[in-house]
């Protein structure tokens, strides 16, 4: 913040925001440019080298497949989207809840945190078959797989955030005097929000991975199933189309979290990141 911002917060801040938005679209350019460059390189390589299109199809074929066979992809995409979103939401509730329990007392931290870590030491690929055994081939087992992968960064982020309140701020609150629950609701929780959102951003992307792993292990629908089938039936175009959709899915969920964060944390908008 510069001195001019301080002296006239109303006028220049609007200008600054406009400049920031312009700055943001400029910042998108390198990513888009690199992506296009890679696509062109890939296309040219496939055309020039004459490589077997079963090994590497050209991006134009992938795009064409997505366009003409959209009615095949769409329902599978929606299934996976639903699994990832519900898994993520479940992970958010459970993750923040666990973080609150962990940071509430020393005993709880010692009791619960090790179990949370242990749950992540076992790879999801080992747990997914059990989930499918218990909850069937439907969406429930995938939602749980997604939640299981996504909740870890959420717990860790939220616990670190809840721990990060300065002891002086607690003293201030208690001097009013504020009750324990007031200290939590008015200081500890809002103070943790930036770190909670860091965890949520990672969790959103991981939820897609969890859902896909679940579908790989056993499913009756979903992009993961389509992908696994296409792979075994030597349909590389479909495989690549699924990969593109999954990448987009992860990015969209990530962006959703970023937008919510932007709305919920207005004081973090200027600068910082």
């Amino acid at each position: 913040m510069t001195a001019t911002d301080v002296q006239a917060p109303a006028g220049p801040s609007r200008m600054r925001r406009g400049a920031q938005q312009a700055g943001k679209s400029v910042r998108l350019l390198p990513a888009v440019g690199l992506f296009l460059l890679l696509l062109v390189g890939w296309e040219v390589y496939v055309q020039v080298s004459g490589i077997n299109s079963l090994l590497l199809p050209p991006p134009s074929a992938v795009a064409e497949s997505l366009w003409t066979d959209w009615q095949i992809y769409e329902p599978e995409l929606l299934v996976t989207l639903r699994e990832a979103v519900f898994g993520f939401l479940l992970a958010t509730v459970v993750g923040i809840g666990l973080a609150i329990i962990i940071t509430s007392t020393k005993v709880m931290r010692l009791a619960v945190y090790p179990l949370v870590i242990a749950s992540q030491a076992v790879p999801i690929i080992a747990i997914a078959p059990l989930l499918i055994l218990w909850f069937g081939f439907g969406e429930t087992s995938k939602v749980l797989a997604a939640a299981l992968v996504a909740f870890f960064p959420i717990v860790v982020g939220a616990a670190a955030g809840l721990d990060s309140l300065d002891s002086g701020a607690v003293s201030l609150m208690r001097s009013f005097p504020a009750s324990r629950s007031q200290v939590f609701l008015k200081a500890r929780l809002p103070n943790a929000l930036p770190q909670i959102f860091s965890g949520l951003r990672v969790g959103a992307v991981l939820a897609v991975i969890g859902a896909i792993v679940g579908e790989f292990v056993g499913a009756d629908q979903g992009l993961g199933l389509l992908l696994a089938r296409a792979n075994s039936m030597l349909q590389p175009v479909t495989v690549f189309a699924c990969i593109v959709l999954l990448a987009l899915l992860g990015m969209v969920l990530f962006l959703c979290v970023v937008v919510v964060e932007w709305l919920v944390l207005p004081w973090r908008r200027g600068g910082q990141r």
Partner: protein, 246 residues
């Protein structure tokens, strides 16, 4: 306060400390860093239960029971997620006052605290001096008769500090509060106070108490160039360095 002792485990931060403060008095506490000043305040504010001794406020034992004093901590602790106006009324919100009324009350005081026009600014958009004034406003809004100010100007540059000192002097005249004021700065203590206590430690104890018999209203330039000021300053500095060799 009688025979106060504050300990953290085996470490004694404040030992056998007794003093009294009159209603309406401005009492400063000076002492080297780490001598136990903040620990003393935490005990006086009721945040720390003294290991021994009691804190009495208007005849009631308030040891370990917060709520009687307006406490301004060493750092401003403004919440970055709250706009200035919401930050300064947080104490009143916690106490369950009418939210609208307390915001009106705060808004009316903004000009007096040099914060007019900044009610919607986040703390990240304020200068250091403004944050200190906001923290002081938050303390004053609680409307307690006893104010505990822990180095309110410690982190500021000399110019801002001088301005805020003069301004606090005015404000105290106006509000007629009882003020306990911690500082490292002997000149600041003399300029503002009715009485100055020298604390040495750890464990913190009172080495000397000096009444400042310089008439009010005080002007900084007049005060610091007066003979009496120099004498008092000399005595206080001697007291502090005596604590180092002891």
């Amino acid at each position: 306060m009688c025979g106060l002792q504050v300990s953290f485990g085996d470490f004694t931060a404040v030992q056998d400390l007794t003093f009294e403060v009159q209603r309406g008095e401005f009492l400063s506490i000076v002492g080297r860093s780490g001598c136990g000043k903040t620990s003393l305040f935490n005990a006086v504010a009721g945040l720390l239960k003294p290991y021994a001794g009691t804190v009495e406020y208007r005849g009631d034992d308030v040891s370990g029971r917060p709520g009687h004093a307006g406490y301004m901590l060493q750092r401003d602790h403004l919440f970055p997620w709250k706009k200035l106006l919401d930050n300064v009324v947080i104490g009143l919100d916690v106490l369950g006052s009418n939210r609208k009324a307390s915001r009106e009350k705060a808004r009316a005081l903004l000009p007096r605290f040099g914060l007019e026009g900044f009610q919607d600014a986040y703390p990240g958009q304020l200068s250091g001096g403004m944050k200190q004034r906001a923290a002081l406003l938050r303390t004053v809004l609680l409307d307690r008769d006893l104010l505990l100010l822990d180095e309110p100007f410690g982190a500021l540059d000399a110019i801002t500090r001088g301005e805020l000192q003069a301004w606090l002097l005015d404000l105290c005249d106006e509000l007629q509060k009882t003020v306990l004021f911690i500082t490292h700065d002997v000149e600041e203590a003399i300029y503002l106070s009715d009485r100055v206590m020298v604390m040495n430690g750890p464990p913190g104890h009172i080495a000397d108490t000096v009444a400042v018999d310089i008439p009010r209203p005080r002007h900084f330039a007049d005060v610091v160039t007066s003979q009496r000021f120099t004498e008092l300053k000399h005595r206080l500095l001697d007291d502090i360095s005596a604590g180092r060799t002891a």
